[in-house]
Assembly symmetry: C2
DNA sequence: TCACATTTGTCCGTATGTATC
DNA sequence: AGATACATACGGACAAATGTG
């Protein structure tokens, strides 16, 4: 996978379970194995690859942690192809926050800049179906607000829909990863209805500006919106956060 | 680690190796275990935690892939606390790009936009050490060119160094992931010395503009440079790309 | 250079927990 | 409830790698 990542890693010690994992990964990349499909059981895989069960176990563990498969126990259980990579990325980002490798300030800056770029691209490439999706999203959010319910889920989805409308997978993957982290923060903070209402208002205006192809207006709205979000999150930046045991 | 991540994930039965992994993670978060320190061997950990060696192995595997430790074999080997989490995130982004079948066209567009934003931040946040790293990079590249050797590796590294100079880890991770794929393409295309020379020239000018804090000049140079790269890659945009074997 | 000790990597056999039918 | 199929976990054993004397 990642050879010569650094020049300092000289010898390529190839561990069998990594070979097995890479082989299965390759089958997924090549669409031979598709999401939803079941992999053979550990015992069968061990036999087919001609390795021990322990080796297969560690290969599957690697794939599970890397977000390629999920594993279920019990009858008719076993490994299933399922893409959870973006969740894994946000998990690792959260770990990175904990060991102070990445700060919330860095994240919000990156988010602001990348979303601005994305929005600019959306104006040029947006299709009718995207606008409908966005309008549907804000309509549902507004409905919740009217019933005094916070619309956190919809408000996060708004930004991933926006990234989707850029018709660029790189933008989509990056934005969705970032929003997964933002969502995690928000779930801990627990926004109130008034805040949620404010967010939805911005989203409504942004959708309108996109539909009318008003580029600078849309970008200004987004910037103002995200700056407000950043200010709301600011108090939590340096907050001592003990991990979630339960 | 990740309880109630999504509402749809019903009950997270706790697996023993996850408990072991979480315990060690917590010790790292709490600075009880610091980078560089050695963990006990698998056998010792198994005894101390009162679990089997296989369970410890899977826990260590999880920590390894999550970027908390590295593992070495042989005498005086074993697990060592080492933070490689950002590399792990980059690897996952790389996987995400592959699994989502990101096209070269999407990649070059996103790269152009994101690097422009990054460079803007570089101008504001660059430190002396960054400029020295960049100068060293182009000097080595120039040396290779003078000897009629292509400097692909240095030319890719240039852009990750640039992202590093933005002093924003999120930018760095994203750019590093993108450049990994770009490098993958270039290694297959095999640029000639003349092309490589052209690239190095741009890099030299960009470094100079950064050192002189000439913002618009630097950004214009980068844009022109990346547009030329895009044009060179254009013939390969629709080429069937089988992913990386090794 | 040559053992030697340590530690991970791999395999086997077995037992238990867990989910499905 | 019982049978089945699967992951999870334990213990023992040997092979391979690697630093040390």
């Amino acid at each position: 996978m990642n050879k010569q990542k650094t020049i300092f890693d000289p010898i390529k010690r190839t561990r069998t379970f990594e070979d097995v994992s890479d082989k299965i990964k390759q089958l997924i990349f090549d669409d031979v194995l598709k999401p939803g499909e079941k992999l053979p059981s550990e015992a069968q895989l061990a036999q087919q690859f001609g390795v021990g069960r322990q080796t297969v176990r560690e290969a599957l563990r690697l794939l599970e942690i890397s977000g390629f498969i999920t594993i279920h126990r019990g009858g008719s259980g076993g490994p299933i192809i399922k893409d959870t990579i973006l969740n894994r990325i946000s998990d690792l980002f959260l770990d990175a926050f904990r060991i102070k490798k990445v700060t919330l300030a860095e994240l919000t800056v990156a988010r602001l800049e990348i979303e601005k770029v994305v929005l600019n691209y959306v104006i040029d490439n947006v299709e009718e179906s995207d606008i409908i999706s966005l309008q549907k999203n804000v309509a549902e959010a507004r409905k919740k607000i009217d019933n005094k319910i916070v619309a956190t889920e919809e408000n996060i989805q708004f930004h991933t829909l926006l990234a989707q409308a850029s018709r660029n997978h790189v933008f989509f993957i990056v934005v969705e990863s970032i929003m997964a982290i933002v969502g995690d923060f928000l779930s801990r903070i627990g926004p109130d209805v008034k805040t949620s209402d404010n967010v939805v208002s911005y989203h409504e205006d942004i959708v309108k500006a996109i539909a009318e192809k008003k580029r600078t207006k849309a970008i200004n709205l987004l910037e103002q919106h995200l700056l407000e979000v950043r200010n709301r999150l600011k108090p939590f930046v340096n907050q001592k956060k003990e991990s979630n045991s339960k």
